[in-house]
Amino acid sequence: MRKALLYTLLTLASLVTVVPLLYMVSLSLQTETETLSAEAVLWPQTPQWGNYAELFTRAPFGDFIVNSLVVAGAITLAHLLFDPLVGYVFAKFRFPLRNTLFVALLATLMVPFFVRMIPLYVLMANLGWLNTYQGLVTPFLMDAFGIFLMRQFIQPIPDDLIHAARIDGASELRIYRSVILPQTRPALAVLGLFTFVFQWNEFLWPLVATTTPEMRTIPVGLTLFNQEYFTLWHLTAAGSVILFVPTAVLFVLTQRYFVRGIALTGLK
């Protein structure tokens, strides 16, 4: 009885989260007439796979995909390169001003992106970096969250490992690369996944920092496409599916890491 109630609750909740996304897939395969008809079309009579091709002729959707991949990919690589290194320094080194620098770093967690938006726009405009990859990428190359995550993960690694490597004459960079980095793999997986998915989905900065259609990322390109062709819902839905599929696949393959990552950030 109690179990039946729980199953009902969870099933209902899951339907509420998943059915709209399935409808999005259905919509992407409908004809324009079906999207506009008076009765609700839950599944198209004949799936219109051609909608996906048509999308690419109406907007530079190929560019959007490449831009999203380059921007999210470059930012993820930068995080994987720098966050563990900086986290390692704060976890294992003593040096002057260490606490001051660490507090200054953590304080940036309280600064939401919209605060930086206007000055960054002015900076990029002055540098001539609007509508460029470097303009889209540089504001997000590192953040306190990733560094903090790596520091928490590196702290429990025994100091003796580092001392032993030093006595063996290993250089500091080598100690980092061969002693510390290999042990952080699970945390790096979490960091990489989170960074990629969030940057892939990022909306506000690519909206502000691009004006030419060819430089837009998928979320921005798709939204502005919808403003221009607001009756072509089947094409907007096709674009949404393209935007959604990579994160969905990544998530289903690695959902344990995601759940652990969220729990990890919640329990600090």
Partner: protein, 290 residues
């Protein structure tokens, strides 16, 4: 010159490793924060005429700014309340020994991974009074159609935000629940406490740190919501969903008033920082000891 002491050498290594990060945070966090404050004290189309606190005085007296702030606060309260109640309810259900827990967790978490662009466009389509699939379905069932984006726009975009985020708060609560030792529940059960009492006397107090974290996160993300207004409602109807960051965006990039929009950014930042610090302090004082 090589530092002579061992600790000097380590310090040098540390700073060498930190150098890229120090440069990055200086250039892309601290410099922009300084600039937004500096710009907020200036006015004019190029934001180059000194006006002191003029923009701030104007913002505090501007009905549109006040309205947008109240709307944003209301939106955040709705999202926070919903996240806590629904997230906790789902976490309590998933904390039971059920088959298919992992599948449910995946299904409930999926919307959290979608872009606000997908969420916004999809729900705008579903809820559209004329073309939306919801009203077409209601009509087929002989039920009256809805106009929620016109009749209750703020509540509607808060519900859409909740639809996206509830899986995230659920996972946070689930982690919190799994951190409560089973022995407390057993002891209470032996003393004859029923499930209702165990929830209010044991689960909820011991979850306080998680609840606090969830509410801080939900408030912070609620106060800076943007895409919902930009994509679903365009701030409307009228100015009913003119969320603060959307308002700031329009003042900056449509009206091109960088001085005034910067002052509004700083004001919203002050609110967010103050709120975060108060909540964290309250959390430290109110922590339950067992």
């Amino acid at each position: 010159m090589r530092p002579r002491t061992l600790s000097g050498r380590y310090a040098r290594t540390a700073y060498l490793f930190l150098l890229p990060a120090i440069l990055f945070f200086a250039a892309f966090f601290y410099l922009p924060i300084g600039n937004v404050v500096a710009t907020s004290l200036r006015t004019g189309p190029m934001a180059d005429q000194w006006t002191g606190l003029g923009n701030y005085a104007q913002a505090l007296g501007d009905p549109a700014v006040r309205h947008s702030f109240l709307i944003t606060a209301g939106f955040s309260v709705l999202v926070v309340a919903g996240s806590i109640v629904l997230g906790l309810a789902l976490a309590l259900a998933l904390d039971q020994p059920l088959k298919g827990r992992v599948a449910f967790r995946v299904l409930l978490l999926v919307p959290y991974l979608t872009s606000v662009a997908i969420v916004g466009l999809l729900w705008r389509n579903i809820l559209d009074p004329e073309l939306g699939v919801l009203n077409r379905l209601l009509a087929e069932l002989g039920l009256p159609g809805q106009q929620w984006l016109n009749t209750a726009p703020l509540l509607t975009i808060a519900a859409v935000t909740l639809w996206q985020n509830v899986g995230y708060t659920m996972v946070l609560f689930l982690a919190g629940l799994q951190g409560i030792p089973e022995t407390y529940h057993e002891a209470a059960r032996i003393d004859g406490a029923d499930a209702w009492h165990r929830f209010w006397r044991i689960t909820l107090p011991l979850l306080a740190p998680t609840t606090l974290f969830v509410s801080v996160m939900a408030v912070i993300s609620g106060l800076q919501a943007f895409g919902q207004a930009y994509i679903i409602t365009n701030g409307g109807p009228g100015d009913a969903t003119d969320l603060s960051v959307f308002h700031i965006f329009n003042v900056a990039f449509r009206a091109r008033d960088f001085g005034y929009s910067s002052a509004q950014s700083v004001l919203l930042l002050i609110v967010i920082v103050a709120f975060t610090l108060v909540q964290l302090r309250a959390g430290r004082r109110g922590e339950v000891q067992y």
